[in-house]
Assembly symmetry: C2
Homo-oligomer: 198 residues x 2
């Protein structure tokens, strides 16, 4: 099929995005054709800016357009707690909650021997550097509740044990608004194990 | 939620596309973050090119990067037949078939009194200009098989009647590979009406 060159290039670009096949890519490309010029210019520019202006914060590893990032620079936040997460998206999920006021540290992955990812391949050494600061009192290991996340949490907690730092892990249990009948066995057993008194 | 400025702008841009909500837009924006720079530059550039380098062919109204478009310039095509379609995407659908060798005329819409679209609001006058060429023998009215498409076809066919030009309409009937049991009544009645002898 012969599309005009610019359209077929745009279709190819859309198809590189996750979950977008040839049909959707074609639909999106033709939609762009009819969008107003200003919106398309904005779109084109923000694609470049995301790639060129964003970097990882040199302190916590979160994605940012200023270094250090806005969280690390925020004087009102509690510098005694560092929440360790696997991904920059996890920081955003935590921040959406609007309750956590501490700092973050993004690992950019988890230890996974199966994929050949060892402790030195993720952002662990800079974390140990940060822990030398006397101000830090607690490390919340908020890696994902799966095998890789758990072992990464375990690894870090053993590593910092000599420093005598308090390390915690996010609670397991039933999701709020969830249905008991749909909870899997492991979650349910955790929910019983860590039941709280009323 | 505080995203770094470039990301939130990119999320906004993705959300302007059809069928993309906030969650998908966020997923796509973060995916772009991890794409290789070359692909993102290509993406950004093709967005601009689609908007800046594409135009409507001054002859047939198809979208093109050269004027007249590659179809109008193709000397090997049959200039005696013009297929009238509503949309530039219809030209692409026809071309995918690889069987039609005639010319096209894109109306960019259909007559729809309900939406206040009259014959003068769509690309009909240039079509009448083209019909003055003695070479044209047949007009295939391939507007959509719905009320607007049918009335547009009817309107054009009446308009060209005085010229004595052959006007045809695409056949109605069962889709190939379709199931008789799922055909709607109107399609089925058309299929019986226009049944062919074996």
């Amino acid at each position: 099929m012969h599309y005009p060159e610019p359209i077929s290039k745009l279709i190819d670009s859309f198809m590189k995005l996750p979950g977008i096949g040839p049909k959707t890519a074609q639909r999106l490309a033709f939609y762009v054709l009819n969008m107003n010029e200003e919106d398309v210019v904005d779109f084109s520019r923000s694609l470049m800016e995301v790639k060129r202006e964003l970097q990882f914060c040199s302190v916590c590893g979160h994605i940012t357009d200023v270094d250090p990032c806005y969280i690390c620079m925020d004087k009102s936040r509690d510098r005694s707690v560092i929440c360790v997460v696997q991904d920059t998206k996890d920081v955003i999920a935590m921040e959406k909650m609007r309750e956590y006021q501490g700092m973050y540290h993004v690992l950019h992955g988890a230890i996974s021997p199966m994929d050949g990812i060892g402790p030195e391949d993720i952002n662990i050494p800079p974390l140990l550097e940060r822990l030398k600061d006397e101000e830090v009192q607690e490390l919340i290991l908020a890696t994902n509740p799966n095998i890789e996340g758990e072992s990464t949490a375990m690894y870090i907690s053993r590593l910092v044990k000599p420093i005598g730092l308090k390390t915690t892990r996010l609670a397991h249990g039933l999701p709020v608004g969830g249905d008991l009948e749909y909870a899997d066995e492991v979650t349910l057993s955790k929910a019983i194990e860590y039941r709280t008194e009323l």
